[in-house]
């Protein structure tokens, strides 16, 4: 287990560095894909060797800077494993998204992508708060470079805004972690196992809650801290958006589960309704705005915002169904976002634009691509037997325990979600073909990327139990910590 855990972090890191240094542009995507597929194999091996009833496993520990509580501790429980699997699953497809029409200097792009993946594995495997923080910040660095170098129009200003938001969130988080750490009796360390048992006065928790939560709320992002998101998602190169929406926003969810819920339970109890209401407002607000978006990529950005709003609300319901549902949904959402963005990228490649008013009638010209789009859309509106429905069903139940009204608000999103997705599908795919001429229909590579993602959506929608079993023990443990 130790080897597997370390290899997950080190392999993409070394491969990434090698790509950045040697710059083998011609072979870069193959190397990156191979690395990420091996990563997926490692993650699956880790999962196969994990006994779900076991609780958390410490795979590797080493004192690093004990004076500040920073220890090199890697390990995992069911929640970490889910996040690791999620990261491992989507990255090969993210790399695949650059297969047909790579960005300039592919060695750098793929190198940065692998470095991001390494840091993300670090985030989800770290079992020490400060180690987590190091990876949490590191993961953004390659992404910033991706945005700055390969982003679209307005990339400097937009990245700057994103950067400021992130730094702000990062600093408050660091402060919150250090503060919490200092409340531990000496001798102390910042391992999760230790830190989660910290006792903090209830009145302190009221403000500490926001200090800890702010960064995660920005990362998701939660309404009204989202104004960096639509621009950044739209401007970023498609692979960058996939990383941001597919995996990085889950760091926000994960962070809440790891730190906010266990460290400041009284703060959570106090602010719970505020967070839930803001999240649900965001969920509906974003879905409403998505309806009239003309840029398909921007529409996906708003849609992601809407979905994550529901997840955040359910998380703060802080009960079995809510937390399990939100965590389950992270996987569903990752797969969905990558598939949707792949389609957007594919359309962009073919048409030179992602504007909906330049589309229409594409089904007549690309029936296979339209069929794939339809299947992804079914996942997006979370019909039963897709993954999304399992998550939503659990989340609605979780919210109901807090207040029937929150469920009511949440369920409205199933209408709004159908409204914008169906409208987008109609505007892009249906109708009379605008102009004649050849457009390449979905080819083999498109199928290699989309079919597994769609298959996963349906398989985990019909049989979600393996993932739910993974979550059961850690969620129960988390709930006993809160109470």
């Amino acid at each position: 287990m130790m080897l597997l855990t370390l290899a997950l972090v080190l392999l993409p890191m070394l491969a990434g560095i090698a790509l950045l240094v040697a710059r083998p542009h011609a072979q870069a995507k193959s190397i990156a894909l191979l690395t990420s597929v091996i990563g997926l194999g490692l993650a699956v091996a880790l999962y196969a060797g994990y006994d779900a009833t076991n609780g958390s496993v410490i795979a590797f520990q080493h004192d690093w800077a004990p004076a500040i509580g920073l220890r090199m501790v890697f390990g995992y429980d069911g929640i970490s494993l889910l996040m690791v699997l999620l990261t491992a699953i989507v990255f090969p497809f993210i790399i695949g998204a650059g297969w047909k029409k790579p960005l300039s200097e592919p060695a750098l792009v793929n190198g940065l992508i692998l470095l991001t993946q390494s840091a993300l594995f670090g985030v989800f495997l770290a079992q020490n708060a400060f180690l987590f923080y190091v990876f949490y910040e590191l993961s953004l660095v390659p992404v910033f470079f991706l945005l700055l170098r390969w982003g679209g129009e307005g990339r400097r200003a937009i990245t700057m805004k994103f950067f400021i938001y992130t730094v702000l969130g990062g600093l408050t988080l660091l402060f919150g972690l250090v503060y919490s750490y200092l409340q531990l009796p000496a001798p102390r360390n910042a391992d999760f196992a230790t830190l989660q048992k910290v006792v903090i006065a209830p009145d302190v928790q009221l403000w500490l809650f926001w200090v800890l939560f702010l960064g995660f709320a920005i990362k998701m992002p939660m309404f009204p801290l989202h104004s960096w998101q639509p621009d950044t998602y739209t401007m970023a190169p498609i692979q960058g958006t996939m990383i941001l929406g597919g995996v990085m926003l889950k760091m926000g969810i994960y962070g809440v589960v790891r730190f906010v819920l266990p460290i400041v339970p009284a703060g959570v109890a106090h602010w719970r309704d505020v967070v839930i209401v803001l999240s649900l407002i965001g969920c509906l607000y974003a879905a409403w705005i998505a309806f009239r978006q003309n840029d398909l990529k921007r529409l996906v950005a708003w849609s992601s915002l809407s979905h994550v709003g529901l997840m955040c609300a359910a998380l703060f319901a802080a009960n079995t169904a809510g937390i399990t549902g939100a965590l389950y949904q992270t996987l569903a959402h990752a797969i969905l976002v990558v598939a949707l963005l792949y389609l957007v990228g594919g359309l962009h490649e073919r048409l030179g634009t992602a504007q909906l008013d330049a589309m229409g009638g594409l089904k007549a010209r690309m029936p296979r691509l339209a069929a794939l789009f339809l299947l992804v859309m079914i996942g997006s509106v979370a019909l039963p037997l897709t993954q999304g429905f399992v998550g939503e069903w659990l989340m609605f139940n979780g919210l109901f325990e807090v207040s029937p009204w929150w469920t009511f608000l949440g369920v409205i999103s199933i209408i709004l979600g159908a409204v914008y997705m169906l409208f987008a599908y109609q505007r892009s795919m249906l109708g009379e073909a605008h102009k004649a001429g050849d457009l390449a229909d979905a080819d083999e590579i498109d199928h290699w990327v989309l079919v597994p993602l769609i298959a996963a959506t349906f398989i985990l929608g019909v049989y979600p139990q393996p993932v739910l079993d993974l979550l059961q023990a850690p969620v129960e443990q988390l709930l006993t910590l809160i109470k």
């Binding site: 800077a65 309806f291 009239r292 039963p384 139940n397 109901f400 409204v419 169906l422 109708g431 979600p464």
Partner: protein, 633 residues
């Protein structure tokens, strides 16, 4: 095989059409000719045979129901939902309708869709629909039913918009899906409430536990009302009925199968399935009754003024569904299910007949341009005539018995209610005979060369015609020497069909029946005089006088919804993005940003504005920090 063994293979009933759908979809570019049609028809036919065997083997007195456990679907502490199928009188009845009438419609489609380029896709969707509809009726708990519920909605969406190059059809498809989703909102919340209250969604367990709920409590009223909201969406009742007439954009077999015989009756099925809950909610029952009655009256009036052969039938369907809800509202569950059954026969027959006419005329749907077809399309005419007699409630035909059961229940509640339902019946009779006379009688007013359809289409018509005549036997009332077989059979469904005791005297029954029949005869005589010898075309809706125009324009309900909901929704979407988002949310952020910038001028030298520099500094900072601490120890 005995019932238990057949129950064990009952999963094949939905699985076969699913298999067909997947195979045809995968090979849709390879299958040639009618292969896909034959395969799809074979799948539903085999499913029908299995359902029929199970029905025959089903001895309710020995074993009322069988629960087939497939696997645990969602299982976390406090929330266990199993993938279960429930085989009992109710689901068997629906299974026979779905697979039986479904198979006939599949077969008919082989002829009807023969020339369509995407015929393989069509059959994949039709089989997928059958799968979803069977999941809906066979589900052992509410959530499995919900799988089917959403699945049929998806198939309905795909099939309404099957001819996707026509913008109006795409709009109709989207409208149907969204309006159904509004209903699903209610359904889903009701499911959450039931799951929270009882800790289970299993039908048997919920019905058992419902005895602990007190009559008319706010909880039970809310749950049943929300379930009814779901039913309103799926079964196209007020205020969500406007999607169904538009859904006629789909190919005619789709209208017959989905939008007449099966899917739209899902709402009625749901209420019967949860009758134990509804029996505890008198307020909801009142609402169901009123909504059903209003829908049935309003849409019956609209049907009178429609000139599109399919639209007449569509409004008729909504109106008949309304009558079924009236029956449900009166607690006459078996009467509603009886009407579902007979309606499935004659309305499928009428739609397929209409399809045959449209096919014969090369796509013409306007009845003002038809006429005199009875000499040319003989089989279609005879079968359509039978369908019309059945829906009009001519004694001896199936519709007579099932509608009569509803009228009697209405009379028992209140004579005025009887009068209203009788009015709907007379309107039905009027617009149906108008349709019949304008289409098949008089002289031909169109231009296309008419011809009879091939036998692959006419054979299903004949089978359905036989069904439309004899289906009344299923529930023959006592005064005709029957035993209300279907009612007694349905009562064995474990969740119970409650509180149906018709206690009218035999004399009253005869009198009411006589009145109904007499009035119907008058209406037919009137319609005959008015439409048979018609040579002039009816005016367009806009040229009609005020009141008639109001009805012909469908009470302006569509226009009202567009103004009230559709337009403001889009407007608000734009405004939220332009004002709330760009000015307020982002404005606040930018203001904070620019104020900080002004302060930041002091440290201008560090602020080179170069992001890469910041990033580098950040990395160096983090690494330096780690190094320092490492050495520091």
């Amino acid at each position: 095989m005995d019932f238990q063994q057949l129950a064990h293979i009952a999963w094949l009933v939905p699985a076969l059409p699913l298999f067909g759908a997947l195979v045809i979809a995968a090979l849709r570019n390879k299958l040639k000719g009618n292969t896909a049609g034959y395969l799809a028809t074979a799948m539903t036919s085999i499913a029908f045979v299995i359902a029929l065997l199970a029905f025959i083997a089903h001895k309710p007195a020995e074993q009322a129901s069988a629960l087939v456990h497939l696997f645990n679907w969602i299982d976390i502490p406090g929330m266990e939902v199993a993938m279960d199928l429930r085989i009992d009188a109710l689901s068997l009845t629906m299974m026979l309708i779905v697979t039986g009438i479904g198979s006939l419609i599949h077969m008919y489609s082989i002829g009807y869709m023969h020339d369509d380029k995407r015929v393989n896709t069509f059959f994949a969707m039709l089989n997928l629909f059958s799968f979803a509809m069977l999941m809906l009726v066979m589900g052992g708990n509410f959530l499995v039913t919900f799988i089917g519920w959403e699945g049929v909605g998806l198939c309905s969406y795909m099939l309404i918009g099957f001819w996707y190059t026509v913008p109006a059809y795409n709009y109709a498809a989207r409208k149907a899906f969204v309006m159904n989703r509004i209903g699903d909102l209610g359904f889903l919340i009701a499911l959450v409430m039931i799951a929270t209250q009882f800790g289970t969604l299993d039908y048997g367990a919920v019905m058992d536990k419902s005895s602990s709920v007190s009559m008319g409590s706010p909880w039970i009223t809310a749950v049943t009302l929300l379930l009814f909201v779901g039913a309103i969406g799926k079964s196209a009742q007020l205020p969500l009925f406007t999607w169904l007439p538009d859904a006629m954009a789909g190919p005619t077999p789709v209208s017959a199968l989905i939008h007449a015989a099966t899917m739209v009756t899902a709402g009625i099925f749901l209420l019967v399935r949860s009758s134990a809950l509804f029996a505890l909610a008198p307020i909801t029952m009142e609402v169901v009754l009123i909504v059903g009655l209003l829908t049935s009256v309003i849409t019956a009036t609209i049907g009178v003024f429609q000139n599109d052969i399919k639209k007449v039938l569509a409004y008729s369907t909504v109106s008949q569904l309304g009558l079924m809800f009236v029956a449900l509202g009166l607690g006459a569950y078996s009467a509603a299910m009886f009407h579902v059954t007979t309606h499935a026969f004659f309305k499928a027959l009428l739609f397929l007949g209409a399809g045959s006419v449209i096919h014969a005329l090369g796509g013409e749907q306007d009845i003002r341009k038809m006429g005199g077809l009875k000499g040319i399309t003989k089989t279609t005419y005879v079968t359509f005539l039978i369908g019309t007699l059945a829906i009009a409630g001519i004694p001896g035909f199936s519709g007579f018995f099932s509608k009569d059961a509803i009228l009697m229940a209405a009379y028992q509640e209140h004579p005025l209610l009887y009068a209203a339902t009788l009015g709907v019946s007379l309107l039905t009779c009027f617009y149906m005979f108008r349709l019949l006379f304008l289409t098949f009688f008089g002289t031909y007013r169109g231009k296309a060369h008419a011809h009879e359809s091939p036998s692959v289409m006419t054979v299903p018509l004949m089978v359905l015609a036989v069904g439309s005549v004899v289906a009344g036997v299923l529930n023959l009332p006592h005064i005709f020497g029957g035993h209300e077989t279907m009612k007694h059979y349905l009562e064995t469904a474990a969740e119970g069909i409650y509180g149906e005791h018709l206690h009218l005297s035999v004399a009253t029954e005869w009198m009411l029946m006589g009145l109904t029949v007499g009035l119907i005869a008058l209406v037919i005589w009137y319609a005959h005089g008015r439409f048979v010898k018609k040579t002039t075309l009816d005016a367009e809706a806009d040229e009609l006088p005020y009141f008639k125009r109001l009805i012909a324009r469908k009470w302006y309900i569509d226009e009202l919804y567009t103004k009230l909901f559709e337009k403001p929704y889009g407007w608000l979407s734009t405004q939220l993005d332009a004002i709330m988002e760009k000015r307020i949310v982002d404005g606040a952020v930018n203001f904070t940003g620019s104020s900080t910038m002004r302060i930041g001028k002091l440290v201008r030298r560090v602020q080179t504005g170069n992001m890469s520099f910041y990033l580098l500094a950040m990395v160096v900072g983090i690494i330096g920090f780690l190094m320092l601490t490492l050495w520091g120890v």
